[in-house]
Amino acid sequence: MRFRGLVNPWTLFALGVVLVRLLLRNDYHLTLINIIGIHTLLVVGLNLLMGYAGQISLGHAAFFGLGAYTSGIFTVSYGLNPWLALLLGLVVAGVAAFLIGIPALKLRGYYLAMATLGFGIIVYIILNQATWTGGPSGLSGIPSLSCWGFPLNTPGRLYFLIWLLLGVILLLSANLVDSRVGRALRALHESELAAQSLGVDTSRLKLLIFVWSALYAALAGSLYAHTLNFIAPSSFNFMFSIKLVTMVVVGGMASIWGSLLGAATLTILPELLAVFHDYEIIVFGGILMVVMIFLPRGLVRGLLDLWEYRRYKRLGGTFPVA
C-alpha cells in the first residue's frame, strides 16, 4: 500500500524514533530499545520467509550467530575493520543459506523446517565447543563500530545507526512486497501451483528469499556483537530460534509493521515482568499454540481480519476495499 499525505506509517515511524531518543536518557533503556531494533531486523527477514513465502526456518538463530561471531572473531582475533567484518558476516551467512537452501527447497513440504533445525543445532554446538569461538564463556572485547572516526560506543550513539538502518530495511522490504517479486512471493504462498503455471520459478524464489532472510539475520548479528561488545553461544540457541518464530507469529505473518510489533512486545515483556522469567518458556510455547490455533495468520493480522469481517457483516455483506 502506498501512502500519500503526511500522516503515513513512515513519518510516524521517523517521528517515533526521534521522540523515543529524546525521552529516554537511561543507558539501560536505550540498550533495550536497540535490542528491539536488532530483533525487528531478524523478525522482518523471517517474516518474509514465513509470512510471504510460506516456509519455516527453525534455526534462524544460527544465521544471527554466524553474523555475530564472524564480526566478533575477525575484529578481536584479526583486527579487521568492523565494517569489513560485517560484510564478511553477510557473505558467510549468505553462502551457508544458499548451500542449505538449494537441496532443502527442492523438496516439498516442510523439509526446510527440518534442515534449518539440524543446521541451527550444529552451529550452536560448534559455537559452544570450538576454542576459536571462545567456547561457552563467549567472546568479549569486541570493538565498537565507528562512523568516519566517530566511535559508536554508547547506546545513545548506536541508537541512530540501528534505527536508521532498520528504517531503510523496512522501507526496502515494504517496497519489495508491493512489487512484482513481492506479488510473486505472495502468490507462491497462496497457491504454488497457480504461481508456477504463470511462469514463477518458485524454487528459485524460495531460495532467494531464504538467503535474503539469512542476510538480514547476519546483519542483525553483527550489530548485536558491536552493541554489547560481547557475545556468547547461549544467545544463539534453539530456544532463540523459537522466540523469533513466536515474534513473527504474534506480530502477524505477512506484515512488515507487525514484525516491529512482535519484536517489541516479546523483547520488552520478559524485561518488564521479572517473575515472567521463570515462566518464560511456558508463555512462549503457550502463545505459539494459542495464536496458531485461533488466529493462524498471526495475532495482528488475525485481529485485523476479524475486524474486517465484522465490518463486512455490518455493511450488509458488501466487502470493503482491500
Binding site: 527453525l58 543445532i121 554446538i125 521463570d278 512462549f284
Partner: protein, 289 residues
Amino acid sequence: MDYTTSLLQYLISGLTNGAIYALIALGFGIIYNATTIINFAQGEMVMLGALGAVTLYQIYPSLPVAFFGGVMVVTLVGLALERLALRPVRDQSPLVLIIITVGAAVFLQGVAMVIWGKEAYTLPPFSGGAPLRLFSATLLPQNLWVMGLVGLLVVLLEAFFRLTLVGKAMRACAYNPRAAQLVGIPVTRMVLISFGLAAALGAAAGILVAPLTLGVYDMGAMLGLKGFSAAILGGLGSSLGGVLGGLVIGVAESLASGLVSSGYRDVVAFLILLLVLFLRPQGILGGAR
C-alpha cells in the same frame, strides 16, 4: 585387546542409546503415518515419562507401578494434545500444525521446569546386581533391559499393526484416509489413538533411559530431535526403518564421541539428518515419494 574392549564398550552404549532413539523414531512414524505431520512434541513425551516415573516412584517405590503409571499418564497427555491443540485445526496447512506442535513442545518443557525445577533425578535400575562383563567390557543390566524391552515393544508394535483389527485400520487410514472413511473406519479416532500410542512409546523410552542418563526438564528436546533424525534416516513411517535409523545413529554417535571428540557428540545425529535430507530424503527404507 584394549582397543577391542573400547570398541565393544562404544558399541554397547551406542546400541543402548540407539534403541532409545529407535523407540522415539517409532513414535514419530506412527503419527506421521496417521496424519502426515511431524509432532515436534514427541521428545517431551520422553521427558514427561522419565520425570513422571520418578515422581510416581517417590510416592510408591515400585518400578512396575512407576513404569506403567508413567506410561499411562503421558498417554493421557498425548491424547489431550491431539484433542485440544490439533483436532480443532486439522484442515490447516501442515506449516501451522508444525508450529503448534513446536509450541506444545516448548510449553510442556516450561511446565516441566516449573514442576520439577532444573535438577536431575534418578530412577533405580530395573534390576540390581553387579555389572556384567563381556570380553572385559562393562555391560550394565539396564543396558540389557533397554535393548530387550525395546526389542519386545517393536515386535508387539508390528504384531499390532499387522494382526489386530485396530492396527490394520490405522494402516488403512495412512494409505488412504478417504477410502478408510468410506469403509467405516473412524479416522478421527484413529488419529487420536496414534497420538496416544506415540506418547506411550515416548514415555517408555524415557523411563527406560532414566536409570542410565538421569531425568532433567530439558532432556526432551535433544532426545526428540535425535529420534527424529533416526526416523528420517530409516525412512519416515517405516517401523523397521525407525529401528535401523536409531541403531545407526546411536552407534555412530558413540564411535564418534569415543574415537574423535566427545564435545561434538551431539553433532553426529544432525549431520546425518542433513546428509539424509540432501542425498536421500526418503531415508534408507522409505519408498520413492
